[in-house]
């Protein structure tokens, strides 16, 4: 059971800061993508991958005993890629190829292109269902693996996840935890203005989930919730993580949903990096240069071998 010491928290916060820098460095030159949610979920990703909650082996992505992380709101994959690259699943040089022709790092996660990506997602809702399938299959195989499915709050306006919630509860999938990025932001506005979700935690409870509401930037609360999720028996867990879209970059935090799917200009990126304490002038070259080098260096479109 991972415990949060002050030393570990300091270390994790530094890791999260670096992941956020990598997100900006990936997205700004790519010229398209989703920075808001990627930054908002950086603390959760840090705790999962660096806080001891995910049992995994970056050198053996197909390891049967591994825990699974499924990113159902696949559009915030830059933060997933940052975490996977930092953990050593693939060379960090791949970051600069994001969204370019021939890249391993697609605009939305593709399991057959990126080591460490457990399911291809992007079209909203599907990842939660797929994660449930993994949880049921792992239980069937008698393995004590845990499946973490991350999703957006706006994503839950789709009907499909609620089918999965019903089934997860019915089948008592206690090895499944859903982490909802509750940032109250989606493309057209706040979730409550576009299609209201509240009373949101009550809905999850009514669907049979052990439901925990936390501040998604408070490491103590994140650790407590994740520890509780791993110990909950007889039902799945939902962690509703209240987060701030664009967390760590002041002008993004201030503009909320507007940074859902827009990348910063070079000047804005410089400001963002300054906010994050990165060395100035460290933005990589633009997308066209990256595309060319990507083609030369990383043109390996074949599927990574997966066990099972």
């Amino acid at each position: 059971m991972p415990a949060l010491t002050p030393e570990l928290e300091a270390e994790l916060r530094e890791t999260a800061r670096n992941l956020r820098i990598e997100v900006i460095n990936m997205l700004a030159p790519a010229g398209s993508g989703h920075p808001g949610g990627s930054l908002g979920m950086a603390d959760i990703f840090t705790c999962l991958y660096f806080g001891g909650f995910v049992r995994h082996d970056p050198k053996n992505p197909g390891w049967l005993e591994r825990d699974r992380v499924v990113l159902s709101n696949g559009h915030i994959c830059p933060i997933l890629y940052a975490a996977l690259g930092e953990r050593g699943y693939f060379p960090k040089e791949w970051f600069k190829t994001l969204r370019q022709v021939g890249s391993h790092l697609q605009g939305h996660p593709a399991m057959h292109k990126t080591p460490g990506v457990e399911l291809s997602t992007g079209s909203l809702g599907h990842g939660i269902c797929g994660a449930l399938g993994m949880a049921l299959a792992e239980r069937m195989s008698g393995r004590d693996t845990h499946v973490w499915a991350l999703c957006g709050d706006g994503e839950l306006q789709e009907g499909l996840p609620w089918e999965a919630f019903m089934a997860a509860s019915h089948h008592k999938a206690d090895n499944l935890t859903i982490i909802v990025d509750r940032n109250d932001a989606q493309i057209d506005g706040t979730t409550e203005s576009v299609m209201s979700l509240e009373p949101f935690p009550d809905k999850l409870r009514a669907f049979g989930f052990e439901t925990i509401v936390i501040d998604g930037h408070d490491y103590g609360q994140i650790f407590d919730a994740m520890n509780k999720a791993q110990q909950t028996k007889g039902k799945p867990t939902a962690i509703v993580a209240n987060t701030i879209m664009g967390k760590g970059v002041k002008f993004m935090e201030a503009d909320g949903y507007k940074w859902h799917g827009k990348t910063p200009s070079k000047e804005q990126a410089a400001q963002a990096l300054k906010d994050l304490g990165a060395s100035p002038g460290s933005i990589p070259e633009g997308p066209w240069a990256a595309a060319t080098s990507a083609k030369k260096k990383w043109n390996v479109p074949s599927r990574p071998s997966r066990s099972a």
């Binding site: 499924v70 399911l119 269902c129 449930l132 399938g133 949880a135 089934a167």
Partner: protein
């Protein structure tokens, strides 16, 4: 006469014994899609997913990533229609080893009518890159092909039917995915059929012979990948090709054959299928007759093609 769905249920039960990784899921239709025997014998490997087909298909996808060989079963309308995007994005995109096994395909659903008669499912599945599409003609074919489908690595759509249909093959007949079976050799026209229309094609051969027309019959049970080697030979040795299926003439076997022939050897063709229309309620045999997908329909298409 026996139903392909019954053969599927029997083969699935045997697969349960043969391969511990085989898993079955259903969406409140276990009795209809014939997963009940499997469920009784292997309760831990059977998942009732309720009336929620898109979720069932995604769950099957997740299971396949953990090494299982899931058969997601429901009616063709729901497994390929309602759940299409789950099949496309979660399974097809990454080539996951999931079997979409659907009964109640085509007009032969019968009395339930057009809302439940999928006449577009072959097209919907065929258009997904990497998807294999298998349409057994009868009981023996469905039994063996269910086994082949389980052994095949990658996503497969297995199209099965509700009613009892004429037996074309003897029990024990073996099939190979991707390789058409020539059931009768003729020289004027080649009839390429899938599903119950294979038996109708065999009847049509006799009727055509009475009029002095010599016809070949090929069971094209693998609609994708299409057996183009056999197709090329048939096109080169016959004056015309007729396709037959209980599916819209747009996008099904006929579409697949036409696409291939346009490239390999343009050949006069006729399409036996529903002519871009929905079905209706009624007895399957009468519906096949009314919509021209029976032996008489094939005879008239063959004569038209040779004219």
């Amino acid at each position: 006469m026996r139903a392909t769905r019954d053969a599927f249920g029997k083969a699935l039960l045997e697969l349960g014994k043969e391969n511990p990784d085989v898993v079955a899921l259903t969406a409140d239709l276990g009795g209809s899609v014939k997963t009940d025997d499997f469920a009784k014998a292997y309760p831990k490997r059977f998942f009732q997913m309720g009336i929620a087909e898109a979720n069932m298909v995604d769950v099957a996808a997740g299971m396949s990533t953990a090494g299982k060989i899931p058969f997601a079963t429901t009616f063709a309308m729901f497994g390929t229609g309602r759940a299409w995007e789950s099949v496309r994005n979660t399974i097809g995109y990454s080539g996951l080893n999931v079997k979409i096994a659907c009964t109640h395909s085509g007009l032969s659903v019968g009395e339930d009518g057009a809302s439940h008669q999928s006449l577009e499912d072959i097209a919907l599945m065929r258009v997904i890159p990497g998807m294999t599409v298998v349409v057994p003609a009868d009981y023996a074919a469905a039994f063996d092909l269910t086994k082949r489908v389980a052994a095949h690595k990658g996503p497969v759509y297995l199209r099965l039917g509700r009613p009892k249909v004429r037996d074309t093959y003897k029990d024990g007949e073996k099939f190979e995915i991707g390789k058409a079976k020539i059931l009768r050799e003729g020289k004027d026209v080649a009839i390429l059929a899938v599903g119950p229309q294979v038996a109708f094609a065999m009847e049509a051969v006799e009727l055509l012979a009475k009029e002095g027309i010599s016809a070949t019959v090929a069971d094209y049970f693998t609609v994708k990948p299409l057996d183009e080697v056999t197709l090329k030979r048939l096109a080169e040795t016959h004056r015309a090709i007729v396709t037959a299926e209980e599916h819209n003439v747009i996008g099904g076997l006929g579409g697949a054959v036409a696409e291939a022939l346009a490239r390999i050897k343009p050949t006069p063709m006729r399409f036996v299928g529903t002519q871009d229309t929905f079905g209706e309620s009624g007895d399957p045999e009468l519906l096949w007759k009314k919509y021209g997908v029976d032996a008489a329909g094939i005879v008239s298409a063959a004569k038209s093609a040779l004219r």
